[in-house]
Subunit: 189 residues, 2 copies
């Protein structure tokens, strides 16, 4: 849109917080504005991307090459653009090994060594619910610290492990519920 | 595990709220316990499933039969078990029409009529980011009230429309960020 500068009150309005809060948060991360909370947009974006590690390359692994796993392995336009690479997938089904051109698919037995040799710290779980907790335990034993979980169960893990549960059924049910009852209903934003 | 009854303090502890809050919330929905906040588990589950519409059948449509769309169309184990059916998918690419056995794939031009004829109120968007807002506008014009959005953009919609943005890149970046910096860092739970 051609804008070069933005004010803390613009950002606060969009984020639903006060301009003061925006300036305070930014200054905690060493982002200083010009007079009156004015920021250069390009500089600000660079700073924010650095803080959130958006520019850093990161290799992750994927466990489970079912429908969701395959879609994620092919989700290049999204992950690769952001320098997040699924460098290997693991599955118990031998028919899946190497057949998929999008990513190398390896046997589960090779996972522990692969994680250690490549210093992987983040994994995506896309196995059925029944085996997800077992996979989660194995991953943590191998040194994984962060998990994006597509299995429809809530994984149990030590408190220091970061888990993002993406439960597609619950999300869809939530949208249906709120669309039918209206946003003012319990649990709907 | 064989339990038949549960107490409000058990539920409160798991949910991170007080037993009083559990009883208050339940009573607002007409769920009454026995003495001292004791609930019959089976009855309670039935009541909760009713309140959240978990037992109701619901037909939804899917827009976009790319990698994510295809995976969702095949995600039977999840959606069908919960009586949520993707009854049709829409795409601009004629090569996708009817080829996919998991769900009927129809041209975009047929979408408005299909939505109206079938009384659909909820849709899943799995098109590229560049066309997602346009699809969203069309859906709302046709009467859609709830959208589960997999396109990596934040959709603009009137306040009464329910939108659940499932941004896979942001989720993965969030897990990576928090796994690296530790859970105590800004924005990590």
């Amino acid at each position: 849109m051609g804008f070069e500068r933005i004010f803390s009150y613009n950002l606060g309005r969009e984020a639903g917080v006060t301009a003061e809060q925006v300036r305070k948060d930014f200054s905690q991360f060493g982002i200083r504005g010009k007079k009156k909370g004015e920021y250069c947009i390009e500089e600000l974006l660079d700073n924010l991307n650095d803080i959130f590690g958006k520019n850093e390359q990161e290799d992750v692994i994927l466990v489970g090459m079912g429908n969701i796993g395959k879609a994620l392995a092919r989700y290049e336009c999204g992950f690769v653009k952001k320098r997040k690479y699924i460098i290997a997938a693991f599955d118990i089904d031998p028919s899946k090994y190497k057949k998929n051109a999008d990513v190398q698919v390896l046997p589960m037995e090779m996972m522990p060594r692969f994680i250690r040799d490549n210093g992987i710290t983040v994994a995506i779980i896309a196995v059925p619910g029944i085996s997800a907790q077992d996979v989660c335990n194995q991953l943590i034993d191998c040194g994984i610290r962060g998990i994006m979980n597509f299995a429809p169960i809530i994984l149990k893990a030590p408190p220091e492990i970061v888990i993002d549960n993406i439960n597609l059924c619950n999300s869809l049910e939530g949208v249906i519920h709120c669309a039918k009852r209206g946003k003012d209903d319990f649990g709907c934003e």
